[in-house]
Symmetry: C2
Subunit: 421 residues, 2 copies
C-alpha cells in the first residue's frame, strides 16, 4: 500500500472569551488562546488537532509543521522523531505560570501531541473507525467529567458582569456548583484553590460536602501551601476529598505530605513527564497522576502512562486547561479506551460560550459525554466559527497567557509567589 | 460504520520436529507444539495468530474462541475482558517447566495474546497497513535477532544424527555459533546454559569471545545457580557479556546478585507480568526485561511494557520459545515499532525445518529480518503445510511439553531441581 503522507498543515490561532477565574498565580485573562491544527494528507483526508496558543508555542508548531510535510501519518513515531529533531533541545514555559519551565523533552512532547491527535484523526477517518478503536477500543460508552469550580470575580475589570457571577466565598462556590450540577449533571466537583487562606478554602469544601453529600470532591491549591500546611489541611479533610491535588511543590515535599495522611495526593505539577515517574514512585510522592495528552505527548502516550499507573498501583485522572471541542473529543476518546482511568476528568468546558466545531456531537448528560462513534475524532470544524475566533485572536492583543501579569495590572502589589501559606 | 465482528475462530494444533536441545530442566522433545489461530470476521477478512500448543492451553483457547464470536476486532480491550471472564481465575503452567505455575492474570494474558495478534492482523488488512503501523509505525526497517546457541546431543535417542550435530563442549558451541553466523548473519550470540557446571559454560563463553570478538554475548542458565555462584560467574564475565540472564531464582536473589556486579542482569523468569515490575524496580533485581508478546498479553501490551522500561531506565529485549512464522512476523512488527527495544531479539527460528506460512516474506539478512510492509502481519498460511503439521501433531503423541519428563525417560536419575550449582 502507499503511505498517507502529510501534504499541508494549517495552524490557526484562536481566542475565546474567558471569565476572570482566580488561581494560585493570578487570574485568567479576558481571552484564552488555542491553536487549531489541520493536517492534510495525500489521500485528501484532513485530521484535526488542538493545542496551546501562546506565541512561542505557535512558532514551534509552525517549525515542526514544515518538517512534517511528506511524513506518513501512520508513522507517529517518525513524526515524534521529526518533532524532536526540529526543536533540537528547545525549552519552553507552560504559558500560564503554574508549572514553570518545560524541559526540552516536554517541549517536544507538547508540540508533537497536536500533530499526533490529527494523525490519529486521519487514521480513523481512513479506516472509518473512531479514534478510540485505534487505542484498543472504548471500554465505556460515555466518559465522566468533573465540575471545575473557580473562585471568580463577577467581571473582568471594567467589563459587565458575566453570566456566571462572582464566587468569592463558600456560598458563592456552592451556588456555582449547583449551577454546574444542574446544567451538566456532574458527579464530581473540583475546586481550584490556592486563592484564599486554607481555612477559607476548607470552609468551601465543607460547604460543598454539606450541599452535595453524594458527590466526589477535590481541591487543587496548585502548590500554594507549605508541607506543614498541606499536612494540616490533608488531615482535616480526611474522608472528605477523593484526592488533594498538588498541595505543595516538588516530589520531596509531596512525599513528606503523603507520609502523614491517608488522603490521596494527585498531581499535574510534580509529575508532568515520564522522567518524573520513577522518582515519584521511589519517593511515594503521589497516588494519582493527572494525565493530559497535550503535554504527555498525545493519546498513545497517555495510554502508556495509564499502563504505567496500572503497573505501579497509581490512580489516573485527567488535567485540563481552557480548551475547545477538538481537545474535548480527543480527551474523551483516550479516556474511553483506558481501563484504569476511573476518575472523572477535569474540563474547563462550562466556562466558555463558543467553539470551533460543529454543534451536536459533544453533549453532557449526567456529567458524561458519549464517546463519538463516527470516524476519527468524530468532530468537524465549523469554518465560520474558526474564522470568527481567529479574528478574535488577532483583535484581542493577547499573544501569551500570563495570569500573574494580568493580576498585577489590576493589583500591582500582587505577589504570586508559591508556596504562600 | 459497522463493527467488524468475529464470526469464526479456527484453532489448529501443529507439531514440528525439534532437535534435542538441552536446558536447565531437561531436553527438548522430538516435536515442538504450537497452535495456529485463524480469526474470521464479518468483513470476510481472516487474521492469524500463533500460540502455545499444549493441551491445557488449547482447551483455554477453545473456550475463549467460543466466547469471542460477535466481538468487534477493533475492541481488543473488550476481547481481553471476554478472555478474563471466560477463564474466570483459571491458572496454568508454562508447559516447559522453566517458569512454573502461571498466575490467573498471566493465564488470561497468554490466552488473549493469540487473539489480539489475529485481531491486529485483521485491522491491518482492512486498513491495508502493516501491523507495525497500528503500533505507531516502524522506527527501523529491519529487526535484529540473536543466535540462540544450545548444548545438544547429535540426535534424539534412537534417532539418526540431525543436521546440526552434537554440541557438548566449548568447541562444539563455537562450531554451532559459526554455522549460525555464517547462515543467518547474527550479530549477537546467546548461549542457553544451566546444563553443565558453571566453569564449563564460562569456558564456552570465553571460547565464543575469542572466536567472535565483535559479537555481543549472552548467557542464560535459567536460574541454575545459587546467589553466590551467580555473583562469582557474573564477576568473572564482567565486560564479556552484554547481559547475564536469570542466573538465580527470584526477585530477591537476582537483586542480591545485581548489587555485587556491574554485569547487567536480564530476565524472563522473575519478571513475567506487569505485577512483577514494581517489586523488581523497588528491589533493583534486573536491568533488562525480556518481553514476549505470547505471555505479556499481545503486541500492545509489549508496547506498554516498552514504555515502562523506558520510564524506569530498564533495558528491553525479547524472549522466544520454539515458534513458527506467524509469531516471528508478530515479534518483528512489535519490535520494529518500539524505539527502545535495542537488544537483538531471541529466536529459536534456526532450529526448525518447516513452517505453516508461505515462504519468502521472513528472510534473515545480516542477522535481521526486514519488517513486512504488506497489510497486517504480512504472512499468509500455506494450507498444505498447515495440514501436514497438524497431521504431525496428531501422530506424534505429544500433548504437552515437558523437558524434564523426557530427560528422565532417557536418564531416570535426572534431577532437574533448580538452582543446581
Amino acid at each position: 500500500m502507499s503511505p498517507t503522507r502529510i501534504t499541508k498543515v494549517f495552524i490557526t490561532p484562536v481566542a475565546f472569551a474567558d471569565p476572570p477565574l482566580l488561581n494560585a498565580v493570578g487570574v485568567h485573562e479576558p481571552f484564552a488562546l488555542r491553536s487549531i491544527i489541520e493536517v492534510e494528507t495525500t489521500d485528501g483526508v484532513i485530521g484535526l488537532g488542538e493545542s496551546y496558543g501562546d506565541a512561542a508555542h505557535l512558532a514551534r508548531l509552525h517549525a515542526v509543521a514544515a518538517a512534517l510535510i511528506g511524513v506518513d501519518v501512520f508513522s507517529t513515531s517518525r513524526m515524534l522523531d521529526v518533532t524532536a529533531a526540529t526543536l533540537g533541545g528547545a525549552v519552553g514555559t507552560d504559558g500560564h505560570g503554574l508549572t514553570g519551565q518545560i524541559s526540552s523533552v516536554g517541549t517536544v512532547l507538547r508540540t508533537f501531541a497536536a500533530f499526533e491527535v490529527a494523525a490519529l484523526d486521519v487514521q480513523g477517518k481512513l479506516l472509518a473507525r473512531p479514534v478510540s478503536d485505534l487505542l484498543g477500543g472504548a471500554v465505556r460508552e460515555s466518559v465522566p467529567f468533573s465540575a471545575y469550580l473557580f473562585y471568580k470575580w463577577a467581571s473582568h475589570p471594567g467589563g459587565a458582569s458575566d453570566r456566571f457571577g462572582a464566587a468569592l466565598d463558600p456560598s458563592g462556590i456552592v451556588d456555582q456548583a449547583r449551577w454546574m450540577v444542574e446544567t451538566f449533571g456532574f458527579g464530581a466537583l473540583k475546586l481550584k484553590g490556592g486563592v484564599f487562606v486554607p481555612e477559607e478554602e476548607m470552609a468551601a469544601i465543607f460547604a460543598l460536602r454539606d450541599a452535595f453529600p453524594a458527590l466526589a470532591l477535590r481541591l487543587d491549591p496548585n502548590t500554594a501551601w507549605s508541607v506543614a500546611t498541606s499536612i494540616d489541611v490533608a488531615r482535616r479533610l480526611e474522608g472528605v476529598l477523593e484526592y488533594l491535588e498538588d498541595p505543595t511543590p516538588g516530589l520531596t515535599g509531596m512525599a513528606a505530605v503523603a507520609r502523614e495522611t491517608p488522603t490521596p495526593l494527585a498531581t499535574n505539577m510534580c509529575v508532568v513527564g515520564f522522567e518524573d515517574v520513577a522518582p515519584a514512585v521511589a519517593l511515594g510522592s503521589v497516588s494519582v497522576i493527572l494525565s493530559d495528552h497535550h503535554y504527555w505527548g498525545g493519546l498513545r502516550k497517555v495510554s502508556a502512562l495509564a499502563a504505567i499507573c496500572d503497573t505501579f498501583d497509581l490512580g489516573l485522572s485527567m488535567h485540563s486547561n481552557s480548551h475547545l471541542g477538538i481537545s474535548l473529543a480527543a480527551m474523551t476518546h483516550v479516556a474511553a479506551s483506558v481501563p484504569n482511568l476511573t476518575y472523572a476528568l477535569d474540563t474547563h468546558w462550562p466556562w466558555k460560550d463558543e467553539d470551533v466545531i460543529e454543534d451536536g456531537v459533544l453533549t453532557f448528560r449526567d456529567g458524561a459525554i458519549d464517546v463519538p462513534t463516527s470516524p476519527g475524532l468524530g468532530v468537524e470544524l465549523d469554518r465560520d466559527a474558526l474564522a470568527r475566533l481567529h479574528e478574535r485572536y488577532l483583535a484581542c492583543g493577547i499573544t501569551d497567557r500570563n495570569d500573574t501579569r494580568y493580576m498585577r495590572s489590576i493589583d500591582p502589589s500582587y505577589d504570586g509567589g508559591l508556596p504562600r501559606w
